[in-house]
């Protein structure tokens, strides 16, 4: 049974967010909002500022101004480890699998931040490959397995909002399909997901809404049922 998004509850609201790496001004006033239980994508070209938006939510960029509310709480002054403890699970683009840790050590590294996370058994049921290779060095896994591990790692923590950065990049179609199934399962559990995705065909059937990011701004918001009507607009933004 699928839970529908809770339109009353704002899990994430970003207003007027600017972010800088050293001298470069990357985000130029991002405004977006995500309801509890929604799956929202950030679409756009490479370098548009989608990954930086996720990093900025985690307070992992150099300097930020504006406002980021998580569960109604202002987080601009919070350190990254405090933000994670608000129930945010971040899966970076580079996956961040630790080579000095075994698969199981990687899996159990992030501390539990909320109750209601998946148990190790549930995770191994969802990702049987990881169970088979649980004593291998984390980076000895294939690219697809490493991506599974990076996802699985934040499911154990009980985080109820996942920030996923390019999880399908460079993976074989069969793995991408598996990741799609995982995302549907997580959505059905009521998790909120913000997905930065290059592969529009992967994201389109999963998402409730799409934001199009260009030059560090949100230039378009498209809900799932407007998608066919606005396809040509989207194509022009994404350059496909």
């Amino acid at each position: 049974m699928s839970k529908s998004p809770d339109r009353e509850y704002e899990q994430l609201r970003i207003s007027g967010l600017h972010a800088y790496y050293g001298q470069s001004h990357i985000l130029h006033g991002i405004d977006l909002m995500v309801h509890r239980g929604e799956l929202v994508t950030l679409l756009g070209r490479n370098g548009a500022g989608r990954s930086t938006t996720l990093k900025a939510i985690m307070n992992m960029v150099g300097r930020r101004t504006g406002s980021i509310m998580i569960n109604g709480e202002e987080t601009m002054q919070r350190a990254p480890h405090h933000i994670a403890r608000l129930g945010v699970g971040y899966c970076p683009e580079h996956r961040g699998i630790f080579s000095s840790l075994s698969v199981q050590e990687n899996l159990t590294l992030p501390p539990v931040v909320r109750s209601g996370g998946m148990s190790l058994e549930e995770i191994y049921t969802m990702f049987p490959n990881l169970y088979e290779r649980r004593f291998s060095q984390g980076t000895k896994l294939s690219g697809g397995e490493q991506q599974m591990l990076a996802m699985a790692r934040i499911l154990r923590t009980g985080a109820n909002m996942l920030l996923l950065d390019e999880i399908t990049e460079g993976l074989a179609p069969v793995i991408v399909e598996k990741l799609g199934e995982v995302l549907i399962a997580l959505k059905n559990k009521g998790l909120t997901i913000v997905l930065v995705e290059q592969n529009f065909h992967f994201a389109a059937p999963l998402a409730d809404r799409h934001y199009v990011v260009e030059h560090g701004r949100i230039v378009e918001e498209i809900s799932a049922n407007e998608l066919s009507a606005k396809q040509s607009v989207l194509d022009s933004y994404l350059g496909v």
Binding site: M58, M60, A79, P80, H81, I83, A84, R85, Y90, P92, G96, F98, S99, S100, L101, E105, T108, L109, P110, P111, V113, R153, I154, T157
Partner: protein, 295 residues
Amino acid sequence: MTMIFGVPLAVLSGQLLIGIINGAFYALLSLGLAVIFGLLKIINFAHGAMYMLGAMGTVLMFDYLGVNYWVALFLAPLLVGTLGVAIEYFLLRRIAGQDHIYSLLLTFGVALIISGVLVNWFGVSGLRYSMPDMFKGGVNLGFMFLPYYRAWVIVAALLVCFATWFIIEKTKLGSYLRAGTEDSQLMQGFGINVPLLISLTYGFGVALAAFAGVLAAPIYSVTPVMGAATLITVFAVVVIGGMGSIGGAIITGILMGVIEGLTKTFYPPASSAVIFLVMVLVLMFRPSGLFGKEA
């Protein structure tokens, strides 16, 4: 008398013993440097001063407060570790992420201040620390005389090295340290209090140096400048072993002590240079160190 390569066995084994003991100190000190470098990415030039503080602290706590050796063995590392946490929190944290040269200069400055203040109070002539009674004397092994205290130093250093290795490689806390060494920002993004972990790691690293200092107090000359000379050799050991390798730091430390001891037996003039010679060779043929990961 038994001779080996023209050297009496008793002399050879005596030098070997000294080598192993020096090596045990190198291992403890380079282990602390490696732990600190791993997570903080700084080269801790204050390490020699922390070693000296452990030894001076042991002597002074005994002279002024009557604190005995066994209490000092715990208390001195605890106090120096606390000082380390304070140094990290109030000083090193301010320059985190800057070029290596800043932390190098800062820790070097801290070391100069600490030893300068102590020189001002106590001068540079050695302070005397009497051996705990239970360690007086030794045992004749037939081929050599083994003083009890020297045996204890080797056992204690190896135990602490092994415990440190075990904590880092085999425990949950250690997995935080290993992961933090690779990507501390992501660790913090998972909800781990990395700033606290960094403070405690620095404190732990310098506490290891202080522990070495306590062990050294009864057998080495205890002066405010004892750390500076030792540190140079320890840096060479760390370069040979490869920065950031825990097991490598331990093994290289002991190995270099032994090589130094053997050189002292067979060709004494080279004994103070041999470690640096090894360092040059390692840098030429394996620049990332014997146990270092290829960059």
